[in-house]
Symmetry: C2
Subunit: 305 residues, 2 copies
Amino acid sequence: MTLPSWNDGAARTAIVDFVEAVTEEGGTDFVPPAERIAVLDNDGTLWCERPAYVQAMFVIRRLGDAAAARPELARQPVVKALLAGDLETAHQYGIEAIAGVLLELDAGRTTEEFTRDAADWLAAAKHPRFGVRFRELTYSPMLELMDLLRAREFRVFIVTGGGVEFVRAVGEELYGVPPDDIVGSAVQVSFERRDGRVVLVRQAAMLGSPNEGPPKAVNIQAHIGRRPILAAGNSAGDREMLEYAHTGERPSLCLVVDHDDAEREYAYAGAAVTDPDAEPIVDTASRLGWTVVSMRRDWNRVFAR
Amino acid sequence: MTLPSWNDGAARTAIVDFVEAVTEEGGTDFVPPAERIAVLDNDGTLWCERPAYVQAMFVIRRLGDAAAARPELARQPVVKALLAGDLETAHQYGIEAIAGVLLELDAGRTTEEFTRDAADWLAAAKHPRFGVRFRELTYSPMLELMDLLRAREFRVFIVTGGGVEFVRAVGEELYGVPPDDIVGSAVQVSFERRDGRVVLVRQAAMLGSPNEGPPKAVNIQAHIGRRPILAAGNSAGDREMLEYAHTGERPSLCLVVDHDDAEREYAYAGAAVTDPDAEPIVDTASRLGWTVVSMRRDWNRVFAR
């Protein structure tokens, strides 16, 4: 199997063995193609999430534009803190205040307009440390894994805590994953007719909970309707999704990307946005026998650029 | 193009012309494969919905079983009316009372158990008039249409007012549509661990609104993330979905199945469950230039059995 960005080692072996086992006709671990469902987290699993989520940088940029046009917005303390990059102060105003400000930004935009906004920004915006566009900071080994899975008749889904519309703006181009195979956090939209055309208009409210933790498993069922046999993540927010794959009746493979490479990328313990006190996912992985992927040791190449 | 169950006529011509136009490389109406999204209603569009929705018969059967086991349930007036098939009386207790009783039936079942229940029932249950299994009462011309669309690199989705888990139980086998390509009404599920396994457990509450009317368009965006270019339905509950396809920037085809064949199937005007006073969909179709498919005139064969 062609996984040129992967070094020989336990992680690569686990992947190769698993894919061989579930695709070998007549083998005891054979899984029919229809049930070969793979779910992959996005931020920190498929592309770089440091120093901040790509979408957070997009939203802050949009907030800056809005504040420039609307002085009364710029005067709000929470907005000032956000624009200064002072997240600690911003958090003192509460997550509802932050969410309220950010959700308001795109309220009234149609889904089609929002997708264009996001795609346009992503076409040019650059990473502050690496100096290349964010879109070039996808992980080469994970793209190879996705290709391998598709070649072996897996269906590959992205299950992200990020906004589903944001990831959809680039999912096909970056990962070969079409919009309907992306599951994420969502805002409410309303059905409207404008100039005789039906449009769907973003509201300043989330649709249900953020897609992190238990909701990842629930939304996999709502959207995909089958239990995955392969799941990959990098934070405690992916734990329940991995557990869901792990405890099915089929053989499964659970991968945890460990960011232990300060030189080529970053070194940090993946934490859950919605549950900062959760057990580090690498510890969960050791406890449950999941496969930890060390960026430093297992990948001879990090970025796809 | 092979559409053997379709008679020559305006409907068949509209389908053939549309598919040719959007798939002809270099043509003015060409639509790239990624945007060839087709959405089809299920009940009354892909299979027979009379004398009652197939799922309603499943639920009444489950209610009968539950009432036999639990006398206090059998004594409820709304349950008595439902089991007697007296929907008029049942409706006097209000739609919430009906929904409450029915949603309670499967509360506590895991999604995997429910899928098996539904698949088991559908494997054997027979239609009261035609004496064959419900699953044999899919419409041959619509299966041919789906095959044609897939051969031309369309993605074919079912967008149903029915319960998504119910339709998923047979979607792949009956229509070649995998679970993740089925969008429907949904109940809430909870994330639970039972005997060390993650399971998703059905609750006695709907998740959002029934997937009828404007929610069909909203849920197409939530689930598929692209505006369809082909939509087919048979009731006023499909109107907004068809309008959504019709008013995009791409060429579109909107099909309305007209049940005008009392001899081979049924003759009735498709009404919206959630909006009984809505304009008949065939009138909407005439007004907006959509293609009406007359079961009597356009189909030389109705059922796939």
